[in-house]
Symmetry: C2
Subunit: 249 residues, 2 copies
DNA sequence: CGACACTTTGAAGACGATCAACGCCGGTGG
DNA sequence: CCACCGGCGTTGATCGTCTTCAAAGTGTCG
Protein backbone atom coordinates (compact mmCIF):
# COMPACT_ATOMS: atom_id res chain seq x y z
CA UNK A 1 0.00 0.00 0.00
CA UNK A 2 2.88 2.39 -0.59
CA UNK A 3 2.21 5.75 -2.12
CA UNK A 4 5.25 6.09 -4.27
CA UNK A 5 3.24 6.55 -7.43
CA UNK A 6 -0.17 8.04 -7.00
CA UNK A 7 -2.18 7.04 -10.02
CA UNK A 8 -3.85 9.69 -12.10
CA UNK A 9 -7.13 8.86 -10.37
CA UNK A 10 -5.68 10.47 -7.26
CA UNK A 11 -5.70 13.77 -9.10
CA UNK A 12 -9.44 13.55 -9.56
CA UNK A 13 -12.08 14.16 -6.95
CA UNK A 14 -10.25 17.00 -5.30
CA UNK A 15 -12.95 19.11 -3.63
CA UNK A 16 -10.99 22.31 -4.17
CA UNK A 17 -11.17 21.86 -7.92
CA UNK A 18 -14.74 20.64 -8.29
CA UNK A 19 -17.12 22.53 -10.49
CA UNK A 20 -14.49 24.06 -12.70
CA UNK A 21 -13.73 23.54 -16.34
CA UNK A 22 -11.73 20.36 -17.04
CA UNK A 23 -9.11 22.19 -19.06
CA UNK A 24 -8.54 24.78 -16.38
CA UNK A 25 -8.35 22.03 -13.80
CA UNK A 26 -5.61 20.32 -15.74
CA UNK A 27 -3.67 23.56 -15.87
CA UNK A 28 -4.10 24.18 -12.16
CA UNK A 29 -3.01 20.64 -11.36
CA UNK A 30 0.03 21.08 -13.56
CA UNK A 31 1.05 24.17 -11.65
CA UNK A 32 1.45 22.19 -8.45
CA UNK A 33 4.42 20.01 -7.67
CA UNK A 34 3.76 16.38 -6.83
CA UNK A 35 5.83 15.24 -3.86
CA UNK A 36 6.30 11.75 -2.50
CA UNK A 37 6.69 11.83 1.25
CA UNK A 38 8.05 8.99 3.37
CA UNK A 39 6.77 7.90 6.74
CA UNK A 40 7.17 10.33 9.63
CA UNK A 41 8.38 13.19 7.49
CA UNK A 42 7.44 16.78 8.26
CA UNK A 43 5.54 18.68 5.60
CA UNK A 44 5.94 21.73 7.76
CA UNK A 45 6.80 22.61 11.31
CA UNK A 46 4.88 24.73 13.79
CA UNK A 47 6.37 28.20 13.83
CA UNK A 48 7.94 27.94 10.38
CA UNK A 49 7.43 30.71 7.90
CA UNK A 50 4.44 29.86 5.71
CA UNK A 51 5.79 28.87 2.32
CA UNK A 52 3.50 26.25 0.85
CA UNK A 53 -0.02 25.03 0.49
CA UNK A 54 -0.68 21.31 0.15
CA UNK A 55 -3.38 19.08 -1.26
CA UNK A 56 -3.16 15.57 0.09
CA UNK A 57 -3.28 13.02 -2.73
CA UNK A 58 -2.59 9.75 -0.98
CA UNK A 59 -1.93 8.49 2.52
CA UNK A 60 -2.53 10.17 5.87
CA UNK A 61 -1.13 13.32 7.43
CA UNK A 62 -1.18 14.06 11.14
CA UNK A 63 -1.76 17.69 12.06
CA UNK A 64 -0.61 18.33 15.61
CA UNK A 65 0.65 20.93 18.01
CA UNK A 66 3.37 20.84 20.55
CA UNK A 67 3.13 22.63 23.87
CA UNK A 68 6.04 24.03 25.88
CA UNK A 69 5.86 21.12 28.31
CA UNK A 70 6.44 18.65 25.50
CA UNK A 71 2.95 17.27 25.08
CA UNK A 72 1.57 16.67 21.62
CA UNK A 73 -2.07 17.17 20.74
CA UNK A 74 -3.24 15.87 17.41
CA UNK A 75 -5.65 18.32 15.83
CA UNK A 76 -6.71 16.18 12.93
CA UNK A 77 -5.86 13.30 10.63
CA UNK A 78 -6.14 14.24 6.97
CA UNK A 79 -6.75 12.15 3.86
CA UNK A 80 -7.12 12.32 0.13
CA UNK A 81 -8.42 15.63 -1.13
CA UNK A 82 -7.96 17.57 2.08
CA UNK A 83 -5.73 20.60 2.17
CA UNK A 84 -3.09 21.99 4.52
CA UNK A 85 -2.02 25.55 5.10
CA UNK A 86 -5.00 27.37 3.61
CA UNK A 87 -6.04 29.13 6.79
CA UNK A 88 -2.49 30.23 7.54
CA UNK A 89 -2.15 31.77 4.10
CA UNK A 90 -5.53 33.49 4.16
CA UNK A 91 -5.13 34.70 7.70
CA UNK A 92 -2.06 36.67 6.65
CA UNK A 93 -0.36 35.06 9.60
CA UNK A 94 3.26 34.47 8.81
CA UNK A 95 3.87 31.12 10.49
CA UNK A 96 2.36 27.64 10.53
CA UNK A 97 0.23 27.05 13.57
CA UNK A 98 0.87 23.31 13.78
CA UNK A 99 3.15 20.53 12.67
CA UNK A 100 2.16 18.41 9.68
CA UNK A 101 3.72 14.96 9.61
CA UNK A 102 3.09 12.04 7.31
CA UNK A 103 1.69 8.80 8.72
CA UNK A 104 3.07 6.16 6.39
CA UNK A 105 4.04 7.00 2.85
CA UNK A 106 2.03 9.80 1.35
CA UNK A 107 1.79 11.92 -1.74
CA UNK A 108 0.94 15.59 -1.85
CA UNK A 109 0.47 18.33 -4.40
CA UNK A 110 2.39 21.42 -3.34
CA UNK A 111 1.79 25.06 -4.29
CA UNK A 112 3.69 28.08 -3.11
CA UNK A 113 1.71 30.42 -0.91
CA UNK A 114 1.82 33.13 -3.53
CA UNK A 115 0.61 30.76 -6.22
CA UNK A 116 -2.42 29.75 -4.16
CA UNK A 117 -3.44 33.33 -3.59
CA UNK A 118 -3.03 34.03 -7.27
CA UNK A 119 -5.21 31.07 -8.18
CA UNK A 120 -7.88 32.09 -5.69
CA UNK A 121 -7.87 35.64 -6.95
CA UNK A 122 -8.09 34.71 -10.59
CA UNK A 123 -10.63 31.94 -10.24
CA UNK A 124 -13.88 32.64 -8.43
CA UNK A 125 -14.97 29.01 -8.29
CA UNK A 126 -11.75 27.94 -6.61
CA UNK A 127 -12.14 30.80 -4.14
CA UNK A 128 -15.67 29.67 -3.34
CA UNK A 129 -14.49 26.08 -2.91
CA UNK A 130 -11.79 27.35 -0.61
CA UNK A 131 -14.41 29.26 1.35
CA UNK A 132 -16.58 26.16 1.65
CA UNK A 133 -13.61 24.17 2.84
CA UNK A 134 -12.66 26.70 5.46
CA UNK A 135 -16.26 26.95 6.60
CA UNK A 136 -16.31 23.22 7.08
CA UNK A 137 -12.99 23.32 8.86
CA UNK A 138 -14.30 25.95 11.26
CA UNK A 139 -17.42 23.90 11.82
CA UNK A 140 -15.52 20.71 12.57
CA UNK A 141 -13.24 22.57 14.96
CA UNK A 142 -16.21 24.01 16.83
CA UNK A 143 -17.72 20.59 17.13
CA UNK A 144 -14.40 19.30 18.35
CA UNK A 145 -14.28 21.92 21.09
CA UNK A 146 -17.78 21.05 22.19
CA UNK A 147 -16.93 17.37 22.26
CA UNK A 148 -13.81 17.94 24.31
CA UNK A 149 -15.73 20.09 26.75
CA UNK A 150 -18.79 17.94 27.23
CA UNK A 151 -18.24 14.32 26.23
CA UNK A 152 -16.79 11.49 28.29
CA UNK A 153 -13.88 9.42 27.04
CA UNK A 154 -16.26 6.60 26.12
CA UNK A 155 -18.41 8.92 24.05
CA UNK A 156 -15.40 10.38 22.29
CA UNK A 157 -14.21 6.93 21.33
CA UNK A 158 -17.64 5.78 20.21
CA UNK A 159 -18.05 8.91 18.11
CA UNK A 160 -14.64 8.39 16.58
CA UNK A 161 -15.42 4.80 15.61
CA UNK A 162 -18.64 5.81 13.93
CA UNK A 163 -16.85 8.45 11.91
CA UNK A 164 -14.23 5.91 10.90
CA UNK A 165 -16.96 3.75 9.43
CA UNK A 166 -18.35 6.63 7.43
CA UNK A 167 -15.02 7.99 6.30
CA UNK A 168 -13.56 4.68 5.12
CA UNK A 169 -16.82 2.98 4.30
CA UNK A 170 -16.11 0.25 6.85
CA UNK A 171 -18.64 -2.35 7.80
CA UNK A 172 -19.48 -1.51 11.42
CA UNK A 173 -19.95 -5.21 12.14
CA UNK A 174 -16.22 -5.73 11.86
CA UNK A 175 -13.20 -3.70 10.79
CA UNK A 176 -9.59 -3.02 11.72
CA UNK A 177 -8.27 0.23 13.09
CA UNK A 178 -6.43 2.19 10.41
CA UNK A 179 -4.06 3.89 12.89
CA UNK A 180 -2.09 2.95 15.96
CA UNK A 181 -3.92 3.26 19.25
CA UNK A 182 -1.39 5.82 20.39
CA UNK A 183 -2.26 8.02 17.44
CA UNK A 184 -5.99 7.67 18.00
CA UNK A 185 -5.64 8.49 21.68
CA UNK A 186 -3.69 11.61 20.78
CA UNK A 187 -6.36 12.55 18.27
CA UNK A 188 -9.02 12.27 20.94
CA UNK A 189 -7.02 14.16 23.55
CA UNK A 190 -6.83 11.12 25.81
CA UNK A 191 -3.90 9.43 27.48
CA UNK A 192 -3.10 6.07 25.98
CA UNK A 193 -3.91 4.34 29.26
CA UNK A 194 -7.33 5.94 29.45
CA UNK A 195 -8.00 5.04 25.86
CA UNK A 196 -7.02 1.42 26.41
CA UNK A 197 -9.31 1.10 29.41
CA UNK A 198 -12.16 2.87 27.64
CA UNK A 199 -12.12 0.36 24.81
CA UNK A 200 -13.05 -2.37 27.25
CA UNK A 201 -15.76 -0.36 28.96
CA UNK A 202 -17.49 0.13 25.61
CA UNK A 203 -18.30 -3.57 25.61
CA UNK A 204 -21.33 -2.56 27.68
CA UNK A 205 -22.45 -0.35 24.81
CA UNK A 206 -22.31 -3.04 22.20
CA UNK A 207 -18.81 -2.39 20.94
CA UNK A 208 -16.23 -5.14 21.18
CA UNK A 209 -12.58 -4.39 20.53
CA UNK A 210 -10.02 -7.17 20.39
CA UNK A 211 -6.51 -6.05 19.58
CA UNK A 212 -6.83 -4.13 16.38
CA UNK A 213 -10.29 -5.35 15.48
CA UNK A 214 -13.54 -3.54 16.17
CA UNK A 215 -17.06 -4.97 16.13
CA UNK A 216 -20.04 -2.72 16.60
CA UNK A 217 -22.96 -4.91 17.59
CA UNK A 218 -25.64 -2.28 18.00
CA UNK A 219 -25.08 0.84 15.94
CA UNK A 220 -28.27 2.58 17.00
CA UNK A 221 -27.67 2.16 20.70
CA UNK A 222 -24.16 3.46 20.20
CA UNK A 223 -25.42 6.48 18.29
CA UNK A 224 -27.86 7.32 21.04
CA UNK A 225 -25.09 7.04 23.55
CA UNK A 226 -22.83 9.34 21.58
CA UNK A 227 -25.48 11.97 20.97
CA UNK A 228 -26.88 12.04 24.46
CA UNK A 229 -24.76 14.99 25.55
CA UNK A 230 -23.62 16.36 22.22
CA UNK A 231 -25.75 18.84 20.40
CA UNK A 232 -25.11 17.67 16.87
CA UNK A 233 -23.09 14.53 16.70
CA UNK A 234 -25.80 12.91 14.70
CA UNK A 235 -26.08 15.91 12.47
CA UNK A 236 -22.32 15.95 12.18
CA UNK A 237 -22.25 12.33 11.07
CA UNK A 238 -24.85 12.79 8.40
CA UNK A 239 -23.12 15.93 7.33
CA UNK A 240 -19.89 14.09 6.78
CA UNK A 241 -21.73 11.37 4.96
CA UNK A 242 -23.22 13.99 2.74
CA UNK A 243 -19.89 15.67 2.16
CA UNK A 244 -18.47 12.36 1.09
CA UNK A 245 -21.27 11.72 -1.33
CA UNK A 246 -20.86 15.14 -2.86
CA UNK A 247 -17.15 14.65 -3.14
CA UNK A 248 -17.66 11.31 -4.88
CA UNK A 249 -19.95 12.72 -7.51
CA UNK B 1 -25.34 52.36 27.32
CA UNK B 2 -28.30 51.27 25.20
CA UNK B 3 -27.83 50.44 21.55
CA UNK B 4 -31.02 51.83 20.20
CA UNK B 5 -29.21 54.16 17.84
CA UNK B 6 -25.83 53.03 16.65
CA UNK B 7 -24.02 56.11 15.51
CA UNK B 8 -22.58 56.21 12.04
CA UNK B 9 -19.16 55.44 13.52
CA UNK B 10 -20.47 51.94 14.16
CA UNK B 11 -20.67 51.41 10.44
CA UNK B 12 -16.98 52.07 10.10
CA UNK B 13 -14.19 49.69 10.99
CA UNK B 14 -16.00 46.60 9.82
CA UNK B 15 -13.27 44.09 8.94
CA UNK B 16 -15.36 42.54 6.19
CA UNK B 17 -15.39 45.83 4.31
CA UNK B 18 -11.83 46.97 4.85
CA UNK B 19 -9.64 47.68 1.88
CA UNK B 20 -12.46 48.48 -0.50
CA UNK B 21 -13.40 51.72 -2.18
CA UNK B 22 -15.35 54.10 0.09
CA UNK B 23 -18.14 54.55 -2.44
CA UNK B 24 -18.63 50.83 -2.88
CA UNK B 25 -18.57 50.38 0.87
CA UNK B 26 -21.38 52.88 1.25
CA UNK B 27 -23.42 51.00 -1.29
CA UNK B 28 -22.80 47.64 0.38
CA UNK B 29 -23.72 49.06 3.77
CA UNK B 30 -26.90 50.50 2.30
CA UNK B 31 -27.90 47.08 1.03
CA UNK B 32 -28.03 45.68 4.53
CA UNK B 33 -30.87 46.27 6.93
CA UNK B 34 -30.05 47.77 10.32
CA UNK B 35 -31.90 46.02 13.11
CA UNK B 36 -32.16 46.97 16.75
CA UNK B 37 -32.32 43.91 18.95
CA UNK B 38 -33.47 43.86 22.57
CA UNK B 39 -31.95 41.84 25.38
CA UNK B 40 -32.24 38.05 25.17
CA UNK B 41 -33.68 38.05 21.67
CA UNK B 42 -32.80 35.31 19.19
CA UNK B 43 -31.13 36.37 15.96
CA UNK B 44 -31.49 32.80 14.80
CA UNK B 45 -32.16 29.41 16.27
CA UNK B 46 -30.16 26.21 15.92
CA UNK B 47 -31.78 24.07 13.26
CA UNK B 48 -33.53 26.95 11.52
CA UNK B 49 -33.27 27.32 7.80
CA UNK B 50 -30.38 29.65 6.98
CA UNK B 51 -31.92 32.91 5.85
CA UNK B 52 -29.63 35.72 6.93
CA UNK B 53 -26.10 36.85 7.46
CA UNK B 54 -25.35 39.37 10.20
CA UNK B 55 -22.68 41.90 10.99
CA UNK B 56 -22.68 42.91 14.62
CA UNK B 57 -22.65 46.69 14.98
CA UNK B 58 -23.12 47.21 18.69
CA UNK B 59 -23.52 45.15 21.82
CA UNK B 60 -22.78 41.48 22.43
CA UNK B 61 -24.17 38.31 20.90
CA UNK B 62 -23.93 34.89 22.51
CA UNK B 63 -23.41 32.00 20.12
CA UNK B 64 -24.34 28.72 21.77
CA UNK B 65 -25.53 25.20 21.18
CA UNK B 66 -28.09 23.14 22.94
CA UNK B 67 -27.71 19.40 23.44
CA UNK B 68 -30.54 16.88 23.68
CA UNK B 69 -30.12 16.66 27.45
CA UNK B 70 -30.78 20.38 27.81
CA UNK B 71 -27.28 21.65 28.45
CA UNK B 72 -26.10 24.82 26.80
CA UNK B 73 -22.54 25.34 25.64
CA UNK B 74 -21.53 28.84 24.64
CA UNK B 75 -19.32 28.72 21.60
CA UNK B 76 -18.37 32.35 21.53
CA UNK B 77 -19.26 35.88 22.53
CA UNK B 78 -19.23 38.27 19.58
CA UNK B 79 -18.75 42.02 19.38
CA UNK B 80 -18.61 44.93 17.00
CA UNK B 81 -17.51 44.01 13.51
CA UNK B 82 -17.83 40.25 13.89
CA UNK B 83 -20.16 38.31 11.66
CA UNK B 84 -22.68 35.52 12.10
CA UNK B 85 -23.83 32.90 9.65
CA UNK B 86 -21.01 33.10 7.14
CA UNK B 87 -19.85 29.54 7.53
CA UNK B 88 -23.37 28.17 7.31
CA UNK B 89 -23.97 29.99 4.06
CA UNK B 90 -20.67 29.03 2.51
CA UNK B 91 -20.89 25.46 3.66
CA UNK B 92 -24.09 25.03 1.67
CA UNK B 93 -25.52 23.56 4.82
CA UNK B 94 -29.17 24.44 5.06
CA UNK B 95 -29.58 25.08 8.78
CA UNK B 96 -27.95 27.17 11.49
CA UNK B 97 -25.62 25.14 13.63
CA UNK B 98 -26.11 27.18 16.79
CA UNK B 99 -28.35 29.66 18.51
CA UNK B 100 -27.49 33.36 18.38
CA UNK B 101 -28.93 35.42 21.20
CA UNK B 102 -28.35 39.04 22.14
CA UNK B 103 -26.76 39.87 25.48
CA UNK B 104 -28.19 43.27 26.32
CA UNK B 105 -29.42 45.60 23.61
CA UNK B 106 -27.59 45.18 20.33
CA UNK B 107 -27.62 46.41 16.78
CA UNK B 108 -26.89 44.33 13.71
CA UNK B 109 -26.67 44.75 9.98
CA UNK B 110 -28.62 42.01 8.24
CA UNK B 111 -28.21 40.64 4.72
CA UNK B 112 -30.13 37.83 3.11
CA UNK B 113 -28.09 34.71 2.41
CA UNK B 114 -28.45 35.20 -1.31
CA UNK B 115 -27.34 38.81 -1.08
CA UNK B 116 -24.16 37.85 0.76
CA UNK B 117 -23.22 35.30 -1.85
CA UNK B 118 -23.89 37.83 -4.56
CA UNK B 119 -21.67 40.39 -2.86
CA UNK B 120 -18.88 37.85 -2.35
CA UNK B 121 -19.07 36.74 -5.95
CA UNK B 122 -19.03 40.23 -7.39
CA UNK B 123 -16.40 41.67 -5.13
CA UNK B 124 -13.07 39.91 -4.81
CA UNK B 125 -11.86 42.00 -1.88
CA UNK B 126 -14.92 41.18 0.17
CA UNK B 127 -14.48 37.50 -0.69
CA UNK B 128 -10.89 37.65 0.49
CA UNK B 129 -11.92 39.41 3.69
CA UNK B 130 -14.50 36.71 4.21
CA UNK B 131 -11.83 34.08 3.68
CA UNK B 132 -9.55 35.75 6.19
CA UNK B 133 -12.37 35.89 8.68
CA UNK B 134 -13.24 32.24 8.27
CA UNK B 135 -9.59 31.31 8.52
CA UNK B 136 -9.39 33.13 11.80
CA UNK B 137 -12.60 31.53 12.99
CA UNK B 138 -11.22 28.08 12.22
CA UNK B 139 -8.01 28.94 13.99
CA UNK B 140 -9.77 30.17 17.11
CA UNK B 141 -11.95 27.08 17.18
CA UNK B 142 -8.93 24.80 16.93
CA UNK B 143 -7.30 26.65 19.77
CA UNK B 144 -10.49 26.33 21.74
CA UNK B 145 -10.52 22.57 21.27
CA UNK B 146 -6.94 22.32 22.38
CA UNK B 147 -7.65 24.42 25.44
CA UNK B 148 -10.64 22.33 26.40
CA UNK B 149 -8.64 19.17 25.99
CA UNK B 150 -5.49 20.15 27.80
CA UNK B 151 -5.96 23.07 30.15
CA UNK B 152 -7.19 23.05 33.73
CA UNK B 153 -10.10 25.20 34.84
CA UNK B 154 -7.69 27.67 36.41
CA UNK B 155 -5.76 28.02 33.18
CA UNK B 156 -8.93 28.49 31.17
CA UNK B 157 -10.04 31.29 33.44
CA UNK B 158 -6.64 32.95 33.48
CA UNK B 159 -6.48 32.79 29.70
CA UNK B 160 -9.96 34.25 29.42
CA UNK B 161 -9.11 37.17 31.68
CA UNK B 162 -6.03 38.00 29.65
CA UNK B 163 -8.04 38.01 26.46
CA UNK B 164 -10.62 40.28 28.06
CA UNK B 165 -7.90 42.81 28.75
CA UNK B 166 -6.74 42.75 25.15
CA UNK B 167 -10.20 42.76 23.62
CA UNK B 168 -11.59 45.63 25.67
CA UNK B 169 -8.33 47.39 26.35
CA UNK B 170 -8.77 46.95 30.08
CA UNK B 171 -6.08 47.80 32.56
CA UNK B 172 -5.06 44.41 33.99
CA UNK B 173 -4.39 46.06 37.34
CA UNK B 174 -8.13 46.48 37.84
CA UNK B 175 -11.28 46.05 35.78
CA UNK B 176 -14.86 44.83 36.02
CA UNK B 177 -16.21 41.75 34.30
CA UNK B 178 -18.30 42.69 31.27
CA UNK B 179 -20.56 39.63 31.54
CA UNK B 180 -22.33 37.68 34.25
CA UNK B 181 -20.31 34.89 35.82
CA UNK B 182 -22.87 32.39 34.61
CA UNK B 183 -22.24 33.47 31.03
CA UNK B 184 -18.47 33.33 31.41
CA UNK B 185 -18.63 29.88 32.97
CA UNK B 186 -20.75 28.68 30.06
CA UNK B 187 -18.27 30.21 27.64
CA UNK B 188 -15.44 28.30 29.26
CA UNK B 189 -17.35 25.03 29.43
CA UNK B 190 -17.29 25.02 33.22
CA UNK B 191 -20.06 24.60 35.74
CA UNK B 192 -20.81 27.78 37.64
CA UNK B 193 -19.73 26.18 40.92
CA UNK B 194 -16.38 25.15 39.51
CA UNK B 195 -15.90 28.60 38.05
CA UNK B 196 -16.69 30.27 41.36
CA UNK B 197 -14.20 28.12 43.23
CA UNK B 198 -11.56 28.57 40.57
CA UNK B 199 -11.68 32.34 40.90
CA UNK B 200 -10.48 32.02 44.47
CA UNK B 201 -7.76 29.52 43.69
CA UNK B 202 -6.26 31.97 41.20
CA UNK B 203 -5.32 34.19 44.11
CA UNK B 204 -2.20 32.01 44.33
CA UNK B 205 -1.33 33.02 40.79
CA UNK B 206 -1.53 36.73 41.42
CA UNK B 207 -5.12 37.28 40.38
CA UNK B 208 -7.59 38.66 42.89
CA UNK B 209 -11.30 38.63 42.16
CA UNK B 210 -13.75 40.34 44.48
CA UNK B 211 -17.33 40.26 43.35
CA UNK B 212 -17.30 41.68 39.89
CA UNK B 213 -13.85 43.21 40.08
CA UNK B 214 -10.64 41.65 38.82
CA UNK B 215 -7.07 42.61 39.71
CA UNK B 216 -4.17 40.98 37.98
CA UNK B 217 -1.11 41.57 40.14
CA UNK B 218 1.50 39.75 38.08
CA UNK B 219 0.68 39.52 34.40
CA UNK B 220 3.88 37.74 33.43
CA UNK B 221 3.52 35.00 36.00
CA UNK B 222 -0.07 34.52 34.89
CA UNK B 223 0.97 34.30 31.25
CA UNK B 224 3.54 31.67 32.06
CA UNK B 225 0.94 29.72 33.96
CA UNK B 226 -1.51 29.88 31.09
CA UNK B 227 1.00 28.88 28.44
CA UNK B 228 2.62 26.08 30.38
CA UNK B 229 0.46 23.43 28.79
CA UNK B 230 -0.93 25.28 25.82
CA UNK B 231 0.99 25.36 22.59
CA UNK B 232 0.15 28.85 21.46
CA UNK B 233 -1.78 30.81 24.00
CA UNK B 234 0.88 33.44 23.94
CA UNK B 235 0.91 33.49 20.18
CA UNK B 236 -2.86 33.57 20.24
CA UNK B 237 -2.86 36.60 22.48
CA UNK B 238 -0.46 38.56 20.33
CA UNK B 239 -2.41 37.50 17.30
CA UNK B 240 -5.60 38.96 18.67
CA UNK B 241 -3.76 42.09 19.62
CA UNK B 242 -2.54 42.34 16.08
CA UNK B 243 -6.00 41.72 14.66
CA UNK B 244 -7.31 44.53 16.77
CA UNK B 245 -4.66 46.91 15.59
CA UNK B 246 -5.34 46.10 11.97
CA UNK B 247 -9.05 46.52 12.49
CA UNK B 248 -8.48 49.92 14.08
CA UNK B 249 -6.50 51.23 11.15
C1' DC C 1 17.91 -13.68 21.06
C1' DG C 2 17.56 -8.96 22.46
C1' DA C 3 16.23 -4.19 21.73
C1' DC C 4 12.59 -1.32 21.29
C1' DA C 5 8.06 0.51 20.43
C1' DC C 6 3.47 -0.29 21.55
C1' DT C 7 -0.13 -1.74 24.66
C1' DT C 8 -2.23 -3.39 28.86
C1' DT C 9 -3.12 -3.42 33.77
C1' DG C 10 -2.96 -1.86 38.62
C1' DA C 11 -3.06 1.57 42.30
C1' DA C 12 -3.08 6.25 43.78
C1' DG C 13 -4.32 10.86 43.32
C1' DA C 14 -6.16 15.23 41.26
C1' DC C 15 -9.79 17.42 39.30
C1' DG C 16 -14.34 18.76 37.95
C1' DA C 17 -19.38 17.64 38.17
C1' DT C 18 -23.23 17.02 40.95
C1' DC C 19 -26.42 17.58 44.74
C1' DA C 20 -27.81 20.36 48.43
C1' DA C 21 -28.11 24.37 51.25
C1' DC C 22 -27.64 29.08 51.92
C1' DG C 23 -26.77 34.24 51.23
C1' DC C 24 -27.59 38.20 48.44
C1' DC C 25 -30.17 41.32 45.76
C1' DG C 26 -33.85 43.52 42.86
C1' DG C 27 -38.49 43.42 41.78
C1' DT C 28 -43.49 42.60 42.68
C1' DG C 29 -47.48 42.73 45.16
C1' DG C 30 -50.06 42.98 49.30
C1' DC D 1 -43.24 49.13 54.42
C1' DC D 2 -42.74 44.45 54.53
C1' DA D 3 -43.17 39.66 52.68
C1' DC D 4 -42.34 36.92 49.04
C1' DC D 5 -40.12 35.39 45.03
C1' DG D 6 -36.72 34.32 41.42
C1' DG D 7 -32.22 34.84 39.50
C1' DC D 8 -27.54 34.74 40.69
C1' DG D 9 -23.55 33.42 43.20
C1' DT D 10 -21.16 31.00 47.02
C1' DT D 11 -19.86 27.10 49.87
C1' DG D 12 -19.66 22.27 51.51
C1' DA D 13 -19.68 17.24 50.83
C1' DT D 14 -19.49 13.53 47.82
C1' DC D 15 -18.76 10.94 43.65
C1' DG D 16 -17.12 9.55 39.20
C1' DT D 17 -13.70 10.22 35.75
C1' DC D 18 -9.24 10.95 33.89
C1' DT D 19 -4.29 11.38 34.71
C1' DT D 20 -0.15 9.86 36.58
C1' DC D 21 3.28 6.63 38.00
C1' DA D 22 4.81 2.01 37.91
C1' DA D 23 5.24 -2.55 36.12
C1' DA D 24 4.64 -6.08 33.09
C1' DG D 25 3.04 -8.09 28.70
C1' DT D 26 3.09 -8.27 23.45
C1' DG D 27 4.85 -7.68 19.09
C1' DT D 28 8.29 -6.78 15.42
C1' DC D 29 12.68 -6.38 13.44
C1' DG D 30 17.56 -6.35 13.53
Amino acid sequence: MSATHPGPEKLQNIPLFTGIDAGLRERLLAEGRIRQVTDQANLFVQGDQVHSFFILLDGTVQLFRESPDGHEKTIDLLHHGQTLGASEIMDACATYRAHARSVGNTAVLEYSAGKLKEIARQNGSVALNLLAEMADQAHQAELEAEHQAKMSAAQLVACFMQRLCILFDYNPAGFDLPYSKTLIASRLGLEIETFSRTLHKLRDNGMVITGNHVEIRDLDALSDYVCESCSISRECLTHQKLARKVQGS
